[in-house]
Amino acid sequence: MTQPIDVAALKRDFAIFDKKMRGGKRLVYLDSGATSQKPRQVLDAERYFYENNNAAVHRGAHLLAEEANEAYEGARQSVADFIGANVEETIFTKGATESLNLIAYSFGNSKPGSRFHLKAGDRIVVSEMEHHANLIPWQQLAKRTGAELVWFEITDEGRLDLTKISDVIDSKTKIVAITHQSNVLGTINPIKEIAAQAKKVGAVVVLDACQSAPHFKIDVKELGIDFLAFSGHKALGPTGVGVCWGKSEHLAEMEPFLTGGSMIESVTMTDATWAPAPRKFEAGVPNMAQAVGLATALTYLTKIGMDRVAEHDALLTAYALSKLIPLAGVKVIGPQNGVDRGAVISFTIDGVHPHDVGQALDGNGIAVRTGHHCAWPLMRKLGLVGTTRASFYIYNDKSDIDILADSIVEAQKFFKVN
């Protein structure tokens, strides 16, 4: 066991925790699965960039352009280091949604003969627990190309049913797009096992790491995957910046997604050739200050230590499960213990709609997510209209969970269901 995180000290870096919520109550922020709060260091880094180095990168011969370039490419190096990647394989996007669309549209743009070209008879594999961002791009790609979309189902416990893994990821499979950790169930999926099967049949693995990269150590090489996407804003970073990582051999072969300035090698009136990756996939002036902010956020996390972040998450998850599971009329969705489970807990309360639960909790200063969590097919599978979701991060402690549990009981009284 490493040194636990000193939450009280750490919270001083986050100005938002000084905010008074309804009725003057303190903020109990349990919605980091949707977006994390930002430490002062990240905001300062963005401001510093704008006040000292701001210029369009990859253009201009002046001092500012040079400094902006250095800051932006330095940020790329920090991101690459954070996920164990090579810097030229690390692409900045607007967010994970764009990252996943980049891969899907690039494949869709490939010409016959390319290993990424899809046609009838090919197969794309996803799972029932995907966020819409890692479902719809593939679903629509399948529709456009005639490829078949198949998916892993979930077990009653809320884990991937991998019993027929070699039937699902079969020799027709070209792409396996899977989430590392469910944003609804908290389930952490066995990626190495899935990647090993994908490798056997020559399929590429696209990993949605939105819920995992901010919470535990990721090493793209160790996972055996081909692509990875995550958003900056769930990892203490700013909105408007995300990461798309891909193996360089793939990136070299892939068609661009967005075209325009910056991403070219040479242009005539009738044709164009592309710059090598990552530039090939970064058309236009990028979100430079946001990239710098994200690098600062990842440095902040690395300074705490991702192992400590993971241990902190595990501690809170176990504590929350021990508080919520025994409550009468409360049902925790997904794995009932902390094994291979991240810091996301969805639950329902008999007789109270998730929106009403969220409203009641809001009355006590608690911020949770309610509804279908952009995983509508999963909700249908579970037979639910929605859930209430509490998600934890480095600035939460047990007292937040105590307030949550007490407020749930209070809400049951208010709506007269217990």
Binding site: R22, G23, V352, H353, P354, H355, D356, Q359, A360, G363, T370, G371, H372, W376, M379, V385, G386, F414, F415, K416
Partner: protein
């Protein structure tokens, strides 16, 4: 306390015992509306006869605000002519957009004034309006069908 101002007793009563919440087998128009941000859904059957709202029945899933609001709306609308129904609807929509400043005219809106507190919670206004918008849609479809 703000929670009580939002969830008045009459709302919780309608939520527990919703009016007209069983789809009638005969109707002139059926509509299905979804609130894509939360997944709430409603199916509404309307029977319009000679410009009179004879019957409104519905089925759906949603939070207490959306369910109570739809229940109250059906009670209000049945028996009205389309013109006065739409004017009630406009008055309710204006109340929802009042940001907590209006109380609502009880003579026109009856039980629906209990929903005035919703206008202080921007995220919940669409919950309160789900059934009303379905009704409005059903009226315009019904009228369009009859003038064909």
């Amino acid at each position: 306390m703000e929670l009580e101002s939002l969830y008045q007793e009459v709302i919780l009563d309608h939520y527990k015992h919703p009016a007209n919440k069983k789809l009638s087998s005969d109707y002139s128009t059926q509509v299905h509306h979804v609130n894509p941000s939360c997944g709430d859904e409603i199916t509404l059957n309307l029977t319009l006869q000679n410009g009179l709202i004879k019957q409104v029945s519905w089925e759906g899933v949603g939070c207490s605000i959306s369910q109570a609001s739809t229940s109250i709306m059906t009670d209000l609308m049945i028996g009205k002519d389309t013109e006065s129904a739409l004017s009630v609807l406009d008055e309710f929509t204006a109340l929802m957009q009042s940001k907590g400043l209006a109380k609502g005219n009880e003579l026109v809106l009856e039980d629906a004034v209990a929903l005035a507190g919703v206008s202080k919670f921007p995220a919940r206004i669409k919950c309160a309006l789900l059934g009303w918008m379905a009704f409005k849609d059903a009226i315009s479809q019904s009228v369009a069908d009859q003038t064909k």
